[in-house]
């Protein structure tokens, strides 16, 4: 009976620690995600709260880019570089040309 009471008491403490975000088990996303400066009072925050902006940023940095979208971006850059090269050549050609003299 005493063992059961002790076990229930320990579970209860662990639950409180989790809810307050400062216990040994509170190392999940919620703790990482919420910066101290903007942390609201942790009163009624559920453990499974939505990830914060910081967590979203971390997730985005580690998300694998869509290969098709990446290829499209690179292809667009290739086209832009072709345009730049062509326009540069055309400009240089004009700079090295002459107008001629329509009166002669």
């Amino acid at each position: 009976m005493n063992n059961t009471r002790r076990a229930l008491s320990a579970l209860s403490l662990a639950a409180v620690a989790l809810l307050s975000g400062c216990g040994a088990g509170a190392t999940g996303p919620t703790t990482v995600a919420v910066p101290a400066a903007s942390t609201p009072a942790p009163t009624a925050q559920p453990v499974a709260a939505a990830p914060s902006a910081a967590a979203a940023t971390v997730a985005a940095a580690d998300a694998t880019p869509d290969p098709a979208a990446l290829n499209q971006q690179i292809s667009d850059i290739d086209n832009q570089l072709k345009v730049i090269g062509g326009e540069s050549s055309a400009a240089a050609s004009g700079l090295n040309s002459s107008e001629g003299d329509p009166t002669s």
Binding site: A60, A61, D62, A63, T64, P65, P67, L70, Q73, I74, D76, I77, D78, Q80, L81, V83, I84, G85, E87, S88, A90, A91, A92, G94, L95, S97, S98, E99, G100, D101, P102, T103, S104
Partner: protein, 249 residues
């Protein structure tokens, strides 16, 4: 009757009459002998009149050649995907003004009554417009500079995605490190390109023929900056390949 048609007709008459006009410098200034009357033609043309007609024909050709180029330029500018909206509007306005001015100038030349007058006006086809050595290079430089700016933006958007690709890659650490080094190089090249192209469009887009040839140095400087930026962007593109290769893509 359209005076241009009359002048062209007299030029043709002059040629038919055996005059070798327009083939050597100074041909327009020389007073040529009067041509023999051609059967069925209304009026014999004097030497001075033939020279004037030939000069006008040359000037008309020069004006129309430039009008044709400007017409192509207008379409080109309208369809360019690299140009920003404001730059497209500015260039289109300049081209339109040149076309109007050249058309009016050609009409003036065709109405001139002396060779000296026509010659003076004809020289304005070049001096007042500089279509080939100023306007067209300027158009190409603005498109190129806007293209560089767009490419810089595209690379800037790509950088975090390449970083994510590196971060999530399962390749060995040395390959990741190689990719990361290439990414840092890419960043620095895009920064350099951005610096090189800064202010280039603004420096050339409002250059006018009245400032030529003094302002040619601005066009040449812009061309150099565009070339430098293009070199950096080509290097950045090479870095993309290095990154993808290092990550096994």
């Amino acid at each position: 009757m359209n005076p241009r048609v009359v002048f062209r007709a007299t030029a043709v008459l002059a040629v038919v009459g055996g005059m070798a006009i327009g083939t050597a410098p100074g041909a327009f200034a020389a007073a040529a002998p009067a041509p023999s009357p051609v059967s069925g033609t209304p009026t014999p043309v004097s030497g001075q009149g033939a020279a004037l007609a030939a000069l006008k024909a040359h000037c008309d050709d020069a004006a129309h050649r430039r009008l044709g180029s400007l017409s192509s330029d207008a379409s080109y500018v309208a369809q360019s995907r690299a140009l920003t909206g404001p730059d497209r509007t500015t260039l289109a306005g300049q081209i339109s003004a040149d076309r109007s001015g050249l058309t009016a100038l050609d009409a003036t030349i065709q109405a001139d009554t002396t060779v000296a007058q026509a010659r003076t006006d004809c020289q304005k086809i070049v001096a007042d417009y500089h279509v080939y050595v100023l306007e067209e290079p300027k158009i190409h430089e603005v498109i190129a500079a806007d293209g560089v700016t767009a490419a810089n933006a595209a690379f800037t958007k790509l950088i975090p995605e390449l970083q994510a690709l590196i971060n999530t890659s399962a390749v060995p650490a040395d390959q990741k490190a190689r990719a990361q080094t290439a990414l840092e190089d890419l960043r620095s090249k895009v920064t350099a390109s951005t610096t090189s192209i800064s202010g280039v469009t603004a420096s050339v887009i409002n250059l006018t023929a009245s400032g030529y040839p003094g302002n040619a140095v601005v066009l040449k400087s812009a061309a150099q900056n565009i070339s430098t930026a293009k070199g950096d962007l080509d290097g950045a593109r090479g870095d993309v390949n290095t990154i993808l290769h290092a990550l096994g893509h």
